[in-house]
């Protein structure tokens, strides 16, 4: 599977993703944000980092990059798109995912390990996990407080499109376990068509024992085992 990793000025998790795709047997390739075509790829990933220094709003300016038209067409054609951290912020800003990521409620940059509960295994991104499995992986963000209006939250919950939720170590959703004030403890979501996902935590930083956790691997394994019906853009 060929996976395109789009690099923006200020991206800093692009090489982590590259290594990660290699680890699970995929073929990664970098795309610079000024390019216009994604080429013949099977999946697209928008990495974490601080594109454009988070100016205006985190992820906002990156959505105006030339490559984003191609990313949007790829997503609209059913191609799998993953946004992690800053990539999640971009997908929300681009309107490919619902809601927005606001400043953490404690105003501080949060750099810590968190526990996540897998809320559904029926997506193409979470099929390698067990239902309600508890994962541990890092977060590293200042604007990660997921917000959507009540109607949108109701639809996300009702459709089973909340992929991951912040919990404590035993899988309970508590206010203390919510590292940034996200609505409903939401850490990751899926779009309506089921092919675009975004999450604030960093699965690509939890893929080898030496990193302290391998719980992120499942996401990449699930994606790699997914055979996209589209021939890609």
């Amino acid at each position: 599977m060929r996976v395109s990793i789009v690099t923006f000025p200020g991206s800093n998790c692009d090489y982590d993703l590259y290594k990660c795709i290699q680890l699970v047997g995929g073929t990664p390739e970098f795309r610079w944000h000024r390019e216009r075509e994604l080429g013949n790829v099977d999946a697209v990933m928008l990495p974490g980092g601080f594109s454009y220094g988070d100016y205006l709003r985190a992820g906002a300016i990156a959505t105006m990059s030339p490559i984003m038209d191609s990313v949007k067409s790829f997503a609209e054609g059913g191609g799998p798109v993953v946004g992690i951290c800053n990539g999640f912020q971009m997908l929300c800003e681009a309107g490919l995912l619902e809601g927005a990521l606001l400043r953490n409620r404690q105003l501080l940059f949060a750099s810590q390990d968190v526990h996540l509960r897998v809320e559904t295994t029926s997506s193409m991104f979470t099929g390698a996990y067990a239902e309600r499995q508890i994962l541990r992986m890092p977060i590293a963000h200042a604007e990660g407080s997921y917000y959507a209006d009540d109607e949108t939250l109701g639809r996300l919950e009702g459709d089973g499109r909340v992929l991951f939720r912040y919990t404590d170590a035993v899988g309970e959703v508590t206010d203390d376990a919510n590292p940034n004030g996200s609505a409903h403890g939401i850490a990751g979501i899926l779009n309506e068509a089921g092919n675009v996902m975004g999450m604030m935590p960093h699965p690509e930083r939890a893929v080898e024992e030496i990193l302290g956790s391998v719980d992120g691997l499942g996401l990449f394994e699930a994606l790699l085992s997914h055979r996209s019906p589209v021939g890609a853009a």
């Binding site: 709003r57 606001l102 407080s145 209006d149």
Partner: protein, 91 residues
């Protein structure tokens, strides 16, 4: 074409969590400004642009707000066209 100076204020929606505003409010309280009931923090942008009329300048700025300057999910915006700052652009 005339040059217009526009002031665009982008503010978080009422009711939305504004932790920065809350932090400033509590700092003001620590200075004994107890009467402060709420603080909201937004952004102020000055746009200097050319248009045929002040209405056209405003319409352009509205489009910019919808497409980039404000997040429609979380923010509201207000636009003031400052007519007195206008000057004709030499051809």
């Amino acid at each position: 074409m005339t040059r217009f100076r526009l002031e665009v204020r982008v503010v978080p929606r009422p009711g939305l969590l504004d932790p920065e505003g809350k932090a400033i409010q509590s700092a003001l309280h620590s200075l004994d400004y107890d009467s402060v009931r709420d603080v909201r923090v937004g952004k102020l942008l000055y746009l200097d642009l050319e248009a045929n009329s002040s209405d056209e300048a405003r319409e352009r700025a509205e489009a910019m707000c919808e497409r980039l300057l404000a997040n429609p999910v979380t923010e509201d915006y207000q636009i003031d066209v400052q007519d007195d700052a206008q000057e004709t652009v030499p051809a």
